[in-house]
């Protein structure tokens, strides 16, 4: 299934820069924060949060390289 087929992403797509990965990051943000609130500072939350931030940075860089 394509990410764009999810109804909530389709709604976000109308608002953001029409990029399903960034839309997904907006949706995942509160979940990551909720996970930190529930579990505290553990290896799981550290890894998840690092992956979230690095995921944004890596995709941002890749997207920029692809476009320019």
């Amino acid at each position: 299934m394509n990410l764009r087929d999810l109804p909530i992403l389709r709604h976000l797509e109308d608002v953001g820069p029409t990029d399903p990965v960034f839309d997904l990051l907006v949706l995942l943000g509160p979940l990551v924060i909720a996970l930190i609130a529930l579990l505290g500072r553990t290896p799981v939350t550290m890894t998840t949060t690092t992956a979230y931030v690095l995921g944004f940075v890596a995709y941002f860089g890749w997207n920029a390289t692809k476009t320019t």
């Binding site: 976000l12 109308d14 608002v15 953001g16 820069p17 029409t18 990029d19 960034f22 990051l25 907006v26 995942l28 943000g29 509160p30 990551v32 924060i33 930190i36 609130a37 550290m46 949060t49 690092t50 979230y52 931030v53 944004f56 941002f60 997207n63 920029a64 692809k66 476009t67 320019t68």
Partner: protein, 528 residues
């Protein structure tokens, strides 16, 4: 009483803004529930109910009012921001009252809470929050209930983007009226042809950056509650903190450096963010303002670091980095510490955030260091972002315009010259209009800076120097929030009133407030 058509328009849109305020107050009731501060719930409910009933009444009664024109747009922006700040002070007043009287099982209040029994202090805190200033009446922010810590951060977060932007996003109203209001809130650039789509995209970008900032600060070692609050106030370039000594409380190199990108993100215009997120990264250097943001921050940081080194403000024998794995000694240690504080404080000032890592700007820092920081506060960063000050685009126009005029002398009268700005070739008439607008705003900014400085000099006495006073007023009017220690609950009444005015005009770039005052004195009718 006869209600003019202009008053009907203003009342209807003020009502809409009050409803938006009520909505964010209702949402905030989740915080006392989560933190177990149930005694604060009635206060929050009443704080939400009052603007909701009033706003609903005004919006319904004047529902058929016409679309606002330019004049009404400015008056709505000015009255709206004043009204939002006024009613936004209710949670401070009512939570303090609840605690003072021990209602609903509230714990005993501290002196920090009792300050808000004075309605003017509650109003000041709210105005400082919504305008993204960050000057505070709280002596010990860590003693505030989580409900009020959240409310302070939340109003800065909302105010950073704009109350009208919020209202347009919630109560979508397509048409030219929304555009007029949007422009009256010191915004002009559109992302999409539709203003409703534009403001929704702004909120989308802001949400994404907020989540990223929270994660980044938490990874740098900040506790989650601190990361949430400081990410919101840092990105909104507001500067309220939940700790006693702002960011200095953490005394962490990692946190200091993690906050730099957060504040820089808040300093860049939303349309540029939108294009960059679409992959057009070259906008970071092709856009005039963004280019100037990076250049201004770099030059300011180098200058400030140099003055701090020259004055020995951070002279130290040793400094440890990366949990003690790297230890710098003597000159490298001093240079690093000066750079750390210089970078943070200049970015904090020029982005108009107001976070403080240097605990004693007023006494430990030399006059020239304070002047460099004050210059950052005066200029600010990009128009169309969340910052205050006169904005870099105006500084760029005035700088390039002055050079253009000087060069003009060397050309013959018959020469045809063009003024180039951000890749656009402007005609003489267009260029004159740009110079005029930038010069008027800058002149008014200095005028009210001096007025505020005069009031402060007369009221605070001899305990503070002239540079302290100018610094503090520039901080209030630039919506920055850095303090030399003048602002506090014991400030004289005239100084508080003056600062309320400085913060209000600073956020709206002065003109809308002057239009409102002119309307109050001479009426809202145009010349016939």
């Amino acid at each position: 009483m006869v209600v003019t058509s202009g008053t009907r328009v203003i009342a209807r849109d003020l009502g809409r803004m009050l409803q938006a305020l009520a909505a964010i107050l209702f949402v905030s009731i989740a915080i006392p529930l989560v933190w177990g501060e149930r005694y604060a719930i009635p206060a929050m409910l009443v704080s939400a109910a009052i603007p909701f009933v009033l706003g609903r009444g005004l919006a319904t009664y004047f529902a058929d009012a016409e679309e606002p024109g330019k004049l009404h747009g400015m008056v709505i922006a000015a009255t709206g921001w004043f009204g939002i700040a006024l009613f936004g002070g209710l949670p401070f007043l009512l939570v303090a009252t609840t605690m003072a009287f021990g209602l609903f099982g509230a714990p005993a209040p501290t002196d920090t809470i009792l300050v808000f029994l004075n309605p003017l202090n509650a109003f000041f805190e709210s105005m400082s929050g919504f305008t993204g200033t960050g000057l505070t009446m709280s002596v010990h922010e860590n003693e505030l209930p989580a409900t009020l810590q959240w409310w302070r951060s939340f109003i800065e977060w909302i105010g950073g983007v704009g109350v009208i932007v919020l209202t347009t996003a919630i109560l979508a109203r397509p048409g030219s009226g929304s555009l007029t209001l949007y422009e009256s809130e010191a915004r002009s650039e559109k992302i999409h042809p539709s203003i409703v789509s534009t403001v929704r995209t702004i909120w989308w970008i802001f949400l994404l950056f907020t989540f990223l900032s929270i994660c980044l600060l938490w990874l740098a070692g900040m506790p989650l509650w601190g990361a949430i609050n400081h990410a919101m106030t840092g990105l909104a370039t507001g500067g309220f903190s939940i700790t006693d000594n702002s960011i200095a409380t953490y005394d962490s190199v990692a946190i200091d450096f993690a906050l730099i990108p957060v504040m820089v993100l808040g300093s860049i215009a939303f349309p540029v963010h939108y294009l960059v997120l679409q992959g057009d990264i070259e906008n970071l250097y092709t856009d005039l303002q963004t280019r100037w943001v990076f250049g201004f921050f770099a030059v300011g940081t180098i200058t400030l670091t140099a003055t701090l080194i020259a004055n020995g403000a951070y002279e130290t024998a040793t400094t440890a980095l990366l949990d003690g794995r790297v230890v710098l000694q003597n000159a490298p240690a001093t240079v690093f510490e000066s750079f750390r504080y210089g970078l943070f404080q200049f970015v904090s000032a020029a982005s108009c955030t107001g976070f403080q890592t240097a605990g004693s700007l007023g006494t430990r820092w030399s006059a020239e260091s304070q002047v460099v920081v004050a210059l950052g506060m005066y200029v600010g960063a990009a128009a169309g972002s969340t910052v205050g000050g006169i904005k870099l685009v105006r500084a760029a126009i005035l700088t390039k315009g002055s050079w253009y005029r000087i060069q003009d002398i060397f050309y013959p009268d018959s020469a045809v010259r063009h003024f180039e700005l951000d890749g656009r070739v402007l005609s003489t008439e267009e260029a004159s209009r740009e110079f005029e607008e930038a010069a008027i705003i800058s002149f008014l900014w200095v005028l009210f800076l001096l007025a505020g400085g005069f009031v402060l000099m007369v009221t605070v006495g001899d305990s503070f120097t002239l540079e302290n006073v100018i610094f503090e007023v520039a901080s209030a009017q630039g919506n920055v929030g850095l303090s030399t220690g003048i602002t506090g609950p014991d400030m004289p009444l005239p100084a508080k009133l003056m600062f309320l005015f400085n913060m209000w005009i600073g956020r709206l770039e002065i003109i809308p407030v002057l239009v409102l005052l002119r309307g109050i004195i001479k009426g809202l009718g145009g010349y016939r």
